[in-house]
């Protein structure tokens, strides 16, 4: 079984890589947007985005100076041997990755405004847990969530009578109001459920899905397609200069709702959609989104 130290080193590498290298699906989506764009200003914006991704990779530097809030999503087997040690491992790996990459220190005390200097603090890094029955392995995903793209995020509860159309309209309105602020082309996550916090958590979780993937239920997949088309019809385009691609994709996750409440969450993720995953099993670590890390 993998030692605690070895896992900490792997997670440190993962967090660091997330800041430098975008996942392949995101890079492909940005390249596709560049290829099909017809507005010359939008095309030049996408060109600098693609150039920037290359420079970051070549120089092994964070592609964006806002290296985000560190958020972990854990799918841990009930028998994963390091389960109890994980909170400490994640915290220590965050501190180490901040130092070696370097990441920008982004954890600020709510009351005093003092920056902790190492991206950890009260509740931070934030960790979301899923426990998987009958398993002794774990999948660890890190998301570096930029602050600018958090600005437009919204959770609210609407009268159920407004229905799913009411949810989709709210999402369109969020992107309409957001304009260039969240660094479009964005990825949009929409969550629905019986309460605002549940909807928002699902909206965030939806951002984890690869670009181009569709919801397992056909009806929801159709809503994703429709909302993506509607958002791109707004025409904000890359960085709001006008153009074809305002959103790279839309992902929806839905929970059963309360008869009297339809809550929704809209989460926006900048084009620098930084996420990275690894799997730990009893034979070792496998880097899922950034396989080249295994050879380093």
């Amino acid at each position: 079984m993998i030692a605690e130290n070895e896992l900490k080193e792997s997670i440190t590498k993962l967090v660091s890589a997330a800041a430098i290298y975008l996942p392949e699906d995101v890079k492909k989506a940005l390249n596709d947007a560049y290829e099909k764009e017809t507005n010359p200003v939008a095309k030049s914006v996408l060109r600098s985005i693609i150039d920037n991704i290359r420079v970051a990779e070549e120089e092994k530097k964070p592609l964006c100076q806002d290296t985000g809030t560190v958020i972990f999503y854990i799918e841990a087997g009930e028998k994963f041997p390091l389960l109890g040690k994980l909170p400490r491992i994640l915290r220590e790996a965050t501190i180490k990755a901040t130092e070696i990459t370097p990441l920008r220190p982004n954890a600020v005390d709510i009351v005093t405004g003092k920056n902790s200097g190492n991206n950890t603090g009260e509740y931070i890094p934030w960790v979301e847990w899923d426990i998987v029955p009958d398993s002794n392995s774990a999948i660890i995903t890190v998301v570096l969530k930029g602050g600018g793209s958090e600005g437009p995020s919204l959770a609210k509860t609407i009268p159920p009578g407004l229905g799913i159309k009411g949810v989709l309209k709210t999402a369109i309105d969020v992107i309409f109001e957001a304009g260039a602020k969240p660094c479009p082309p964005v990825v949009v996550g929409v969550g629905m459920g019986p309460a605002a916090d549940i909807a928002m958590k699902l909206a965030k979780k939806a951002l984890l899905r690869p670009i181009g993937s569709r919801h397992r239920r056909e009806e929801v997949a159709e809503l994703e397609e429709k909302l993506l088309k509607a958002i791109n019809a707004l025409g904000w385009g890359p960085h709001g200069v006008g153009g074809l691609t305002t959103a790279l994709d839309v992902h929806i996750e839905a929970a059963h709702r309360h008869p009297a409440a339809l809550s929704l969450g809209v989460a926006t993720m900048c084009w620098a959609c930084r996420r990275a995953s690894l799997r730990v099993t009893d034979t070792g670590v496998e880097f899922l989104t950034h396989p080249f890390l295994g050879g380093e």
Partner: protein, 199 residues
């Protein structure tokens, strides 16, 4: 659309020639300032105190960089623009009080800033948001840092840059504001967007 290569300091006369859609490349000295930096600058100026640097005829960059200390020297690792809309609450006063000529950020600014640009002779230009590695390539040196007590992202960084750009001008000194114009266009598209979801 004209391309300008500007070297700091930049005169009001030169800035007043620039129009929305023009492209700028800046060489010389650029000062960083974000939320806390703007707030502190205005507090000092309002109480009649001097700032550690003189913004007159200079460039302010909305950025909170990733930095690395190598020996005694600071090195910029990644330094793309931050969302300028947050600075809307300070910028008009900041322009009036400091005499800054070029504001660099991302995402556009509002009516109050545009009015101050018109009145006092300044422009607002954007660099591609998130392109932190690319921006860092144009920064030759950190010449100094003030207000480090505000934390690394919020400190006032004194940066020596060469051909920093392309910067696209979205607010000029004639009162034009590209993003306000875009918002009107997008507003016209709202109906179509709603119709796609069946409204």
């Amino acid at each position: 659309m004209t391309e300008y290569k500007l070297t700091t300091p930049i005169s009001e006369e030169d800035v007043r020639k620039i129009r929305v859609g023009d492209i700028l490349y800046i060489t010389g000295r650029v000062y960083s300032a974000r939320d806390a930096g703007h707030r502190r600058a205005l507090e000092l100026l309002n109480s009649g105190k001097a700032l550690p640097v003189d913004f007159r005829n200079m460039v302010v960059y909305h950025v909170g960089p990733v930095v690395k200390k190598v020996g005694d020297e600071w090195e910029i690792v990644s330094a793309g623009p931050t969302t300028s809309a947050r600075l809307e609450m300070y910028e008009a006063k900041f322009i009036e009080k400091t005499g800054v000529r070029v504001i660099i950020g991302k995402g556009g600014m509002g009516k109050k800033t545009a009015e101050a640009c018109r009145k006092f002779g300044a422009v607002y230009a954007i660099f591609t948001g998130g392109a932190g590695a690319l921006a860092a390539k144009a920064i030759e040196k950190v010449e100094g840092v003030e207000w480090l007590d505000l934390g690394i992202p919020e400190a006032l960084w004194i940066l020596k840059v060469r051909d920093f750009g392309p910067l696209t001008v979205t607010i000029d000194s004639t009162g034009r504001n590209f993003y306000e114009e875009m918002k009107e266009k997008v507003n016209e598209n709202l109906k179509e967007a709603y119709s796609i979801i069946g409204l």
